[in-house]
């Protein structure tokens, strides 16, 4: 079970931010096309950076806490999940705060 630690952490990030979409009306998951296109440029750049940093040894991934599927050089497949999940959490936060501030201003 320890090998799923990284994935479970990412799963927890999705779950904990889900109410922002469902109850606070963030409308991020509900715009899948815009969401995917928004993630792509940063995803590409940060994955290239990650591959390079893993290959040169700046960072490495603990085999005890990752599922063991790696990209060339040893970059954990979980990193691809990270570069998807964390930005989504950021967008959900931004849209939720915007919504709250707008509703407050309207009143």
């Amino acid at each position: 079970m320890d090998r799923f630690q990284y994935l479970l952490l990412m799963g927890a990030c999705v779950l904990i931010t889900l109410p922002l979409e469902l109850h606070f009306g963030a409308r991020v998951w509900r715009r899948p096309r815009r969401l995917v296109l928004s993630l792509l440029p940063a995803f590409a750049l940060f994955v290239v950076w990650d591959l390079w940093a893993t290959n040169t040894g700046t960072w490495d991934f603990n085999p005890d806490y990752t599922v063991g599927i790696t990209l060339p050089g040893g970059m954990a497949i979980e990193e691809l999940v990270f570069f998807t999940v964390i930005p989504v959490c950021g967008l959900l936060t931004l849209e939720t705060v915007r919504g709250i501030l707008q509703r407050r201003d309207v009143r």
């Binding site: 993630l39 040169t56 960072w59 603990n62 964390i86």
Partner: protein, 113 residues
């Protein structure tokens, strides 16, 4: 400067320059952005803290490539610049794509979302 802080600060600076010189979305003048970043940093502590904790690290850094400065838990200082670059880049792209849809009226976005 070690390679990781050098690249993280560069990435953050590039994002700021792209916004101020190219995109000019006004995101940095929006209170919602700064409030959101504070919230994201607050949640970064447990999440990134769990990834980097020295007692059972999921991500292991080569010490000579990092700043060696850990303001909170075992999270390297440069990780905050890294997070700024990643989150802000995605927010700017999100707004840019939204603008192309909403440039006419706010209602247009609801219709096409």
């Amino acid at each position: 400067m070690p390679i990781y802080p050098a690249l993280a600060v560069t990435a953050a600076a590039v994002v700021v320059i792209v916004e101020l010189r190219v995109l000019r979305s006004g995101l940095f003048r929006e209170p919602a952005y700064w409030i959101s970043m504070c919230i994201c940093y607050a949640f970064m502590i447990p999440v990134d803290g769990w990834l980097t904790k020295h007692s059972a690290a999921i991500v292991i850094y080569r010490p000579s490539d990092t700043s060696g400065i850990y303001p909170v838990w075992d999270i390297p200082l440069e990780e905050y610049a890294y997070a700024f670059a990643l989150l802000t880049a995605v927010m700017l792209t999100w707004d840019r794509l939204g603008r192309s849809v909403t440039s006419r009226t706010p209602m247009a976005e609801e219709a096409t979302a």
